[in-house]
């Protein structure tokens, strides 16, 4: 297994952790009657996110943001791995991505501004660099 694939598997597990971090407080705050309902806006009184506490809503947005990041990162890892183009640069990028996505969670939850955006940009740049490296 290439280091990029290890980082990808850990990023997938990180997403599982983010689910737990978000859904446990969300269920405690709203009650299972609401969370297991079909979440119709008229019955819930708006979007699910609007009913959550500030911190839990941030964790909700952090989870959704990681989906976007994870899709792009998966693509970069698949392209680098399947075309046998793993280099020290792409390996470093993969670990930097993972580190940035770990830090992104407390940065969002505790409202570290502008660090959240900077941490996000580091992860995004690492992914983009992997994609560019695979093409040249």
């Amino acid at each position: 297994m290439t280091p990029e694939l290890t980082a990808l598997a850990l990023a997938g597990l990180l997403q599982v952790v983010q689910y737990v971090l978000m859904s446990v407080p969300a269920n405690l705050e709203l009650g299972t009657a609401k969370t297991t309902s079909p979440r119709d806006r008229d019955r819930l009184g708006g979007d699910l996110q609007d009913r959550l506490s500030r911190r839990t809503a941030r964790l909700y947005r952090a989870l959704n943001n990681h989906y976007e990041g994870l899709i792009l990162f998966t693509l970069a890892v698949v392209v680098v791995t399947l075309s046998d183009q793993s280099t020290p640069l792409t390996t470093a990028c993969a670990w930097i991505y993972l580190g940035a996505r770990v830090l992104y969670i407390p940065a969002y939850a505790f409202g570290w501004s502008p660090w959240r955006s900077l941490i996000w940009a580091v992860g995004f740049a690492a992914t983009t660099l992997m994609l560019i490296a695979s093409l040249i």
Partner: protein
């Protein structure tokens, strides 16, 4: 050496990254740098062309999530052919049309481009099977 389909996938990934950069730049202009850097506890939705770029980005990410497995399956099975290359090229071309068509609000063209990209993705799955 990259096979063509994997290169096209990487190029599409960069296109999505570029679109994300455009949207974020627009959001900074429209909603303010302070809001973009904040925890966004208050919901502010981008309007006009920036809103369209935002929706085009979300759509492009879902298209990417659907396309990537098809290309990965084809690559892992060594199943690339002329047909899969053409389908991947059609996909990329369609998405290259889709983004400006959405941004400038060209009704009809946007939907046609979306259908072409979607059909190319479905074709890749059939070719993979």
């Amino acid at each position: 050496m990259l096979s063509d389909e994997l290169s096209l996938l990487a190029i599409y990934g960069l296109l999505v990254a570029l679109l994300l950069g455009l949207k974020t730049t627009g959001m900074i202009g429209q909603l303010g740098m302070g809001y973009v850097l904040s925890s966004r506890d208050e919901l502010r939705t981008p309007r006009g062309m920036i809103g369209r770029l935002d929706r085009a980005l979300n759509n492009s990410v879902t298209a990417l999530a659907l396309l990537a497995p098809a290309i990965a399956i084809l690559a892992l099975r060594d199943n690339f052919s002329d047909a899969t290359r053409v389908a991947a090229q059609v996909f990329l071309l369609a998405r290259l049309i889709y983004i400006p068509a959405y941004a400038f609000g060209i009704v009809g063209l946007r939907t046609l481009a979306w259908i072409a990209g979607f059909a190319a993705t479905v074709a890749l799955y059939f070719l993979a099977l």
